[in-house]
Amino acid sequence: MPRPKPNPRQRTRPHLFTGRLRVAIACFLLFLWSWALDPVSLPASRWQAANQPAFQAASFEGIIGQGVLLGIFGGFRSIMADFAWLRSYIHWGRHDRASCETFMRTATALDPGNILFWTGAIDRIGYDMPRWEIDEREHGGQLQVDKAVQAQITREHVERALNLAAQGAKQHPQHASDFWMRSGHLCRLKLRNYEQAALFFKRAAEGDPPLWFASLSYVNALCELGREVEARLWLREEIKRRQARNTPDPQDILGILKERLEELEKQRFNLSLPPTL
């Protein structure tokens, strides 16, 4: 009697799970293990999120696909950031706002330690881009863009630049005063918002380390607001603070501040204010 032909699919021993089901179970077990290992990898994830902006999702909004993938693939960040910065120059030359900003943000996300990327991006967004957009609209058929529209365009761009400056100050706390100073200038020159500018200048003057010319800018901004008395009182206190610090002053910054105070004092007599002020 011929023996029955063995079925190749027939298993020699029974299995609880077979084929794809086993793969699915293995994946599920990996999923559970991942959850279990979360506390182990948490310190590293937290440290990266706090110290390396390239790992923050917010830094990547709108810039994925610009060579960022290679940049976060374990290295090449500096070179990819440099390429992005170079490409931003090409778009800057073409007055292509969207691309220019995208590449500048790519550079700051990939290599946040390079202060040039931040300051360059702030200046281009705040000073150049509003002008480009206004020019673009004028060339687009509108002979003259309405002043209110121009102001609106400028405000939008400056707000973006101020946000970037705040991010830069957070990233470079040792240069935060530079960023506040830049923000103050943007508010003063582009928005004519002296109140806001004065706040930024004050922040830069009282920052750590303080910028000496920020003190002068703050005083001038207060004078532009018609608050000479406040400016003089603040500068008097500022000089006292700087004298108390007793730090080396090879450029005689204190002397410059004293000169400015004298000018304000003279103005007080011209205005014939009571001596207590």
Binding site: C27, S41, S45, F76, I79
Partner: protein
Amino acid sequence: MNREALQRVASLATNTFTEALRQRFFAFLMLLGVMLALSGILLRTFNFGTSELKFLADFGFGGVFLFGSILAVVMTVQLFFSELESRTALTLLARPVRRWEFFIGKFFGIQILLAVFIAVLIGVLGALLAMRSWELGREALRLGMPEPWFSTHGLLVFAFLQCLRLAIVSALTLFVCSFARTFLYAVVVSAMATLACQLQGIGDAALAQNKQETLLHLFVENCGRVIPDLQVFDLGAPLVLQREGLPATVVLGVIGYGLLYIPVLLLLGIWLFRDREI
């Protein structure tokens, strides 16, 4: 596990390593990696204010992971499938070699190969950094500026972390090989999984930022959990170039993560491979 089993695993690992060394692909990738690290010297002038040592180190780190990942994926699949396709696996498994021994032997053989690759690349990078930091140091002394600095100890810790990272990649690839039917399928799935592992952290952060209470969102959020997060191993710059280094908890956490993930990937791979038809 008895002594004979260990000996069999060791001889399988040695054979795998010797076979891998003979492959031109390994030599080609090694050469590319070394050339990339050295080309950092030529490209160093192309930067906008980044410190030169950081630029060089960054270039080297990129080479280690990029070429290391390609090597870990392609060589693992190649060495695994060559045994199956040439039927030598059948001959091997007909002897008193168990499937898990075959699986673990392959894994360790590839680890030796990856360790050699990392050692060579990190050696070249270390030499390059030492040479430039010495030259820049002399110049800095002359100009009265602070000397550039890098940590050799940090570089060694980084090399170890990269060994762990690539071990995860090769364990993941072996896991895929344990159920894959073709070479191409295994390479493509493993490469995609490696890329996803690298981007997992960013994906998680992006999902957390746009949180929605939908079933789809929940599903996508949890999908990433199936694969390990390789981004936590990206600690090169702070380890090598920051004087203050990294908190010990961060480094130990990453080492622990790698050491705890690899065995589970291997165990699940062995479980799937145990009943696979060869």
